[in-house]
């Protein structure tokens, strides 16, 4: 049977407990509050950059965009400048729409064999909704967190906080992004688990980041609304880290260290996992190239000469027959 998600779940729970035990029983605040986060950031930066460089070091021998709209050809035929861009501007727009709105995923359809005879394809928008909700909520949450790392807090971040808690009456402020993040993650997990095809293709490495992110979101929400932590102290610790004057304020609760440990794990895991789609999406040759190969020659850096069958060799073999058939030849 399929225990892949269980392994991942157990692993994330174990991480949770390690941080809890480490802080509560072993008193390793220094390790979980300073060493691990620093190590994680170093691994993240080193891993991320080397992966990007590794990709960038590979050649792009051919210009192979997936053309998803009318090409540029005759003047009076309307080109689809976004889905089949022939200029850099078009490519930038196409990429921006991919990255900001997941345009390709928006096209998603679902196939069904109706009454065993007719194939039907219906628009299937939920994956797009869930994915977009998760990513934007994640982005908002991460950006909001910058208030812990800045002093004074820049205006845009305060503004974002305001916007994020817009529908709020009373205290503490509830951030919509946190709720959306958790809901979207749960949706993505359930989809993975319940849809037989998606479950079949899923690896342990697909469940793990979901659980990890759920763990991060849960511990964050717990800390904010239920097991209150000294926020001022937490900010002190964070500021210590970014100013390279690390310190461990006494009043930070263990839930905070759990949260921080899970985030550190995410950072360290990131460059070696599928999460690198974050970097890869920018480098995808089927999306980031213009469809102008017939207008502008693309150069392949490793293009090497190959053995061909020349006309002379061809004529040498067939000359008699060609002459008999009245075909012109170079050498009589």
């Amino acid at each position: 049977m399929n225990f892949k998600y269980l392994y991942s779940l157990i692993l994330v729970i174990a991480l949770f407990l390690i941080a809890y035990a480490g802080v509560e029983m072993a008193g390793m605040q220094f390790v979980f509050g300073i060493l691990v986060p620093y190590a994680a950031v170093v691994i993240f930066l080193w891993g991320f950059i080397s992966k990007i460089l590794c990709w960038a070091n590979s050649a792009v021998p051919f210009r192979i965009p997936t053309t998803a709209g009318q090409q540029k050809s005759l003047d009076w035929i309307r080109q689809n400048k976004i889905d089949n861009p022939s200029t850099t501007i078009g490519v930038v727009v196409r990429m921006a729409l991919e990255i900001l709105t997941f345009r390709s995923l928006f096209r998603n359809t679902k196939m069904a064999l109706h009454k065993g005879a007719k194939l039907i394809y219906s628009w299937e928008i939920w994956l797009w909704v869930g994915a977009l909700a998760f990513h934007w909520a994640f982005f908002t949450t991460v950006t909001r967190h910058l208030r812990f790392f800045t002093d004074p807090v820049p205006f845009p971040i305060t503004l974002l906080e305001k916007a994020d808690s817009f529908f709020q009456v009373g205290l503490p402020l509830v951030f919509q992004s946190g709720i959306v993040l958790l809901a979207a993650l749960l949706f993505l997990f359930l989809r993975r688990l319940l849809e037989p095809q998606v479950r079949y293709i899923s690896l342990a490495a697909d469940y793990f980041p979901l659980f990890l992110l759920i763990g991060i979101a849960l511990s964050g929400i717990l800390m904010r609304y239920f097991i209150k932590t000294d926020v001022v102290a937490a900010k002190e610790l964070a500021m210590g880290l970014v100013t390279f004057q690390p310190c461990i304020p006494e009043t930070v609760g263990s839930i905070f260290y759990i949260h921080l440990f899970l985030v550190s794990t995410l950072l360290a895991y990131f460059p070696f996992s599928k999460l690198m789609h974050f970097g890869g999406v920018f480098l995808s040759p089927t999306r980031n190239q213009a469809n102008n190969t017939r207008m502008q020659r693309h150069v392949n850096p490793w293009n090497y000469p190959v053995n061909t069958h020349t006309y002379e060799e061809y004529e040498d073999e067939f000359r008699e027959k060609m002459i008999d058939a009245g075909l012109p030849v170079d050498k009589e």
């Binding site: 995923l105 994956l127 490495a205 995808s284 190969t293 017939r294 190959v306």
Partner: protein
């Protein structure tokens, strides 16, 4: 048609989308008759100088591989990761969201989960993780990694020849992961140890030697076109004089040899010839055919990038030798992906040619100014737009036409409106198939990328099901009886597909429709179309 195929209804009833109980890594591929193509003939492999020429049979346990085949694959993989950023990125970033899963016609037609593009790619990705990533080496199967074994190799071979490199999956993937690209790379690796199929290897060898896939020698090529001259004279009363290998012609014409060889492609070929004759009579158009570059298609593309380049080289070489100004290309699918996205890069720059200009309308084909090769649908659409063709679409009134976008001109080029414009000008009854099955979402004929053999008919009927099903829907709704296309593989593959799934529908190329409508100077009144079928009564009082 293959006798052992079940009835169409039975075929449909047998498609099962339930996933197996065992994980895919624990479900070895079972190579099944009807689903695979025969192994390559050693003579063809040898002629091309490709590795490990020998007689072998995919059903045998022993595939007679070189002793160090694992090392060859590993090193080949490594080399390709450095040469192709596409492969490296696609190996790393798939999130297995499954958006591509039900987009593949082979998955739709077989229900086999390994035909989901994502799993097809995972077949290679799992080995990539094991061989090239730290986390894969460290965690093994928990990270989705597995070692290359003979079973894995057989699985690769089986499923990489169940992908027609159609790119439909890549339209839907949020990162544009193109499983076709992965298949191309996988087949290239397989070729390193001599695991090709004969339906690809032998046409490639033929093409290398005689200039075309079918192995037609120069005199025979000319004979075949001469036959068409006779056929055309019978229908129109006009005598044509195609020219061959003629130095100093303005334009070189290259089309897939399939058009010269088998119905209904032959009618398309007659269509080209009639169009050229018309243009010559009216405007002094000057074009030549070549027997040396007598193949537009390129099965080398389905072998390796290198083989593709070796075959493609003939086009520019011949254009240079003949001293033409530019090249006009016939109707084909993968031919056009190669010309559009690869040719100039591989074998250019074509600085000995001129930027293509239509000698009749003066239109500059800006979009082809570097490669110097124009698609005949672009060329003809321009002629019609400028009113240069005298057409009587009523001669196609017995046809209710729909149009199949070939995968490669769709997703590897983006030619959608040119052929539609032409059709709408030569035909009175045109109906589109459902939106999710045309244009960039078009479904493959099921036989592309060298899979149009006879022995894998079950696979072809499965892969072609979504296309056929869409044709059926317009057949039932509008009485469509003709499926038009701009691809020679389509013209070979769609007729058996239609015969199996929608027997009421026939297949035609674009320029057959053009030629039926074209009023050639000096022609007799036509009583039949190019196929010799009686034309409908044309009403003299134009009532529209």
């Amino acid at each position: 048609m293959a006798e052992d195929l079940p009835k169409a209804e039975e075929f449909l009833a047998n498609i099962d989308y339930k996933v197996p109980d065992t994980a895919w890594m624990d479900t070895p591929a079972e190579i099944r008759k009807g689903m695979y193509c025969y192994a390559s003939n050693p003579k063809s492999v040898e002629y091309l100088g490709l590795p490990n020429a020998r007689k072998w049979n995919p059903l045998d346990d022993d595939w007679q591989l070189p002793e160090n085949w694992q090392e060859i694959i590993h090193n080949g993989f490594k080399e390709r990761l450095e040469r192709f950023r596409s492969v490296k990125v696609f190996m790393d970033i798939c999130v297995r969201c499954g958006a591509c899963a039900d987009k593949c016609h082979f998955y739709i037609g077989t229900g086999d989960p390994k035909n989901m593009p994502v799993l097809r790619a995972e077949l290679l990705r799992s080995v990539y993780r094991n061989d090239f990533t730290k986390i894969g080496k460290l965690l093994g199967r928990a990270a989705g990694a597995r070692k290359m074994t003979l079973d894995v190799l057989k699985e690769w071979w089986y499923y990489l020849f169940q992908c027609t490199e159609c790119r439909r999956c890549s339209v839907f993937c949020p990162y544009g992961i193109d499983t076709a690209e992965i298949t191309i790379m996988g087949r290239e690796l397989l070729n390193l140890i001599g695991l090709n199929i004969d339906w690809i290897a032998t046409p490639v060898a033929n093409c290398f030697r005689t200039g075309n896939h079918l192995g037609i020698q120069p005199h025979a090529f000319k004979d075949m076109l001469d036959f068409f001259v006779e056929d055309i004279e019978e229908v129109t009363g006009v005598e044509l004089e195609p020219s061959f290998n003629r130095k100093g012609a303005d334009i070189l014409f290259i089309t897939p040899s399939g058009d010269v060889f088998a119905d209904p492609g032959t009618y398309t070929c007659m269509g080209y010839m009639m169009l050229f004759h018309y243009l010559k009579e009216k405007y002094g158009f000057d074009i030549t055919w070549s027997t040396y570059a007598s193949e537009g298609g390129n099965f080398g593309f389905f072998t390796s990038h290198e083989t593709m380049k070796r075959l493609n080289a003939k086009m520019y070489a011949e254009a240079k030798r003949l001293g033409v100004k530019w090249i006009l290309g016939g109707e084909c699918g993968h031919m056009w992906r190669v010309i559009h996205q690869y040719m100039d890069t591989m074998n250019g720059p074509a600085d000995f040619l001129e930027e293509p200009v239509s000698p009749i309308t003066g239109t500059k084909f800006e979009n082809a100014k570097s490669t110097k090769m124009v698609h005949i649908a672009e060329f003809t659409a321009d002629l019609i737009k400028h009113n240069k063709l005298e057409l009587d679409p009523r001669r196609n009134d017995h046809l209710k036409v729909t149009y199949h976008d070939s995968c490669n001109t769709a997703r590897g080029m983006g030619m959608f409106d040119e052929p539609r414009y032409v059709i709408n000008n030569v035909v009175n009854h045109f109906y589109e198939m459902p939106a999710n099955t045309i244009r960039e979402q078009t479904f493959c004929c099921g036989s592309g990328s060298g899979l149009n053999a006879g022995e894998n008919m079950e696979l072809r009927m499965a892969g072609g099901l979504p296309r056929a099903n869409a044709v059926r829907s317009v057949h039932e709704k509008h009485g469509v009886n003709m499926l038009a296309c701009v691809c020679a593989v389509d013209r070979a593959a769609l007729p058996p597909l239609m015969e199996y799934w929608v027997p009421e529908v026939d297949v035609t190329g674009l320029h057959e429709l053009v030629a039926n409508a074209l009023i050639v100077p000096g022609e007799n009144e036509r009583t039949t179309d190019l196929r010799g079928e009686d034309l409908p009564e044309t009403e003299d009082d134009a009532d529209e």
